[in-house]
Symmetry: C2
């Protein structure tokens, strides 16, 4: 990665951190283009892939969207709780659960390398009858 690549990743992090809810790659692209109008999709996808790999950003597989890691960076998989009402995402870490999950998969000789754990539902404010966002 060269200077330019780093700059775009930095900008993407800023963009994602401005939002509490996940953004699609094309949402990010749209915001990036306000600064650098000529950026193309592959540039964004490459930067997002790198950020995701390094744990600075999480990809929500069930939403095809991205969110900045709320704790700076998790190398390990997080549990991502997605409110289907207001869209907010909570991150939890649970090393024990990961270990358990790995061992369940390993029962048949499967060798895990990446965990995807997403929980859909309603967050505390949306679930209690409070008016949602």
């Amino acid at each position: 990665m060269s200077r330019q690549g780093q700059r775009i990743q930095k900008e993407i992090l800023v963009i994602l951190r401005r939002h509490l809810t996940p953004r699609s790659a094309y949402d990010v692209l749209g915001e990036l283009r306000q600064i650098s109008p000529k950026i193309a999709p592959p540039t964004v996808y490459r930067a997002l892939a790198s950020l995701t790999l390094r744990g600075r950003v999480h990809r929500l597989e069930s939403l095809n969207a991205f969110i900045a890691c709320q704790c700076d960076q998790h190398q390990n998989a997080s549990i991502l709780s997605i409110c289907d009402d207001c869209g907010t995402v909570e991150e939890s870490v649970a090393p024990d659960l990961l270990k358990e999950l790995s061992s369940i998969a390993a029962q048949s000789g499967f060798a895990p390398s990446r965990h995807v754990i997403e929980v859909h539902g309603l967050c505390a404010s949306c679930g209690t009858g409070d008016s949602p966002a």
Copy 2:
């Protein structure tokens, strides 16, 4: 759902069961069209949504693809172990882990309604240096 809807769902199950690896909605559409050439994407997506809801088919969120439930039907979330080499998918059920996962999400008042648990890695045959599929 009327007769026609049921017929298409039945056909989709047959198609998915012919394969050991996940199929995209458009893969399924292609095979359906060999029988009924005029089927359109929304028809397939609706049928897949219904099958998924009823646990006859699982959607692999991290692959945007579908596979028939290997145990006829799971109402509860399965753990889906995806071999990144040969593409096969193993299903495991682990009610305890689900409960644990729910309670982790619930710590902040989150009310879970759907779990997505996918594990990427290598299956037993691909991980041992055996020639993969």
